[in-house]
């Protein structure tokens, strides 16, 4: 099973390695679809915020700065909030800029959540910026971003 390759380094290594091994083109060439761009991420963010101002702060993004494998990256987003019926986090939205698709998840909480914190595992196609945005009960938006480095697995499988 081959995951989609967006990084040119992996494409180069694969072509170079494949040519060395058989002397002809390798069996598996990933034709990349259009990649996400920072513009796509901005559009996705605007869909959530409706163009409202987004302030930095209150949100914490825990994600390894150097990822062991881009197929499964543990991520925790937490928001500082009293989580009372009048002051709570309504939702958390996570975005990325280089996957084929800009969204990494939308999480809908409520005053009964107790703590505004979610954990999940995401896929990251390449080294890129991740943005987490929280929507509070008063309608305000808060954000944080993190840069993540994604390396390649050394001995990968080839489709035989």
């Amino acid at each position: 099973m081959q995951r989609r390759d967006t990084s040119t380094r992996r494409r180069f290594l694969k072509l170079a390695g494949g040519t060395a091994a058989i002397g002809v083109l390798p069996a598996m060439i990933s034709v990349s679809p259009a990649e996400a761009t920072p513009e796509m991420m901005a559009t996705a963010i605007r869909t959530v915020t409706g163009g409202a101002p987004v302030q930095t702060g209150k949100v914490k993004l825990d994600i390894p700065p150097l990822v062991e494998n881009g197929n499964s990256v543990p991520m925790t987003v937490s928001v500082t909030s009293p989580m009372t019926p009048t002051d709570y986090v309504k939702s958390i939205h996570v975005f990325n800029e280089k996957n084929p698709q800009p969204n990494l998840g939308n999480f809908y909480l409520g005053p009964r959540a107790g703590r505004a914190q979610i954990s999940t595992r995401v896929r990251l196609a390449d080294s890129q910026k991740i943005v987490a945005i929280a929507k509070l009960s008063d309608g305000s938006f808060w954000s944080v971003s993190a840069d993540v480095v994604v390396t390649l697995a050394a001995c990968t499988e080839e489709v035989i």
Binding site: N71, G110, R115, T120, R123
Partner: protein, 106 residues
Amino acid sequence: MAAALINVPKKAKNGDVIEIKTLMSHIMETGFRHTTSGVVIPRDIITSFTCRFEGEEIFRADLFPGTAANPFISFFTVASKSGKFDFEWIGDNGFSETASASITVE
């Protein structure tokens, strides 16, 4: 296929903030991969996860191709009374799985 692994504390005190962890078996096929002949492998993902306590929604998540296979989701809720949590995963190709767990709150 084993559906899910759920971790809900069996007991809690009224007002405790408890963590609920869920793990669901699913390939989460992105729809961006190709076979060697260039044919796209169609998307097949879980799109939505919902948790209800005694019938009332307490947490919901939208999932995307960017969610890793065998989705792991953990979140928090305030323990207020004894009762049942119901979990539901819905996705492409009519995917629908449920699970439940009970808690005793003193």
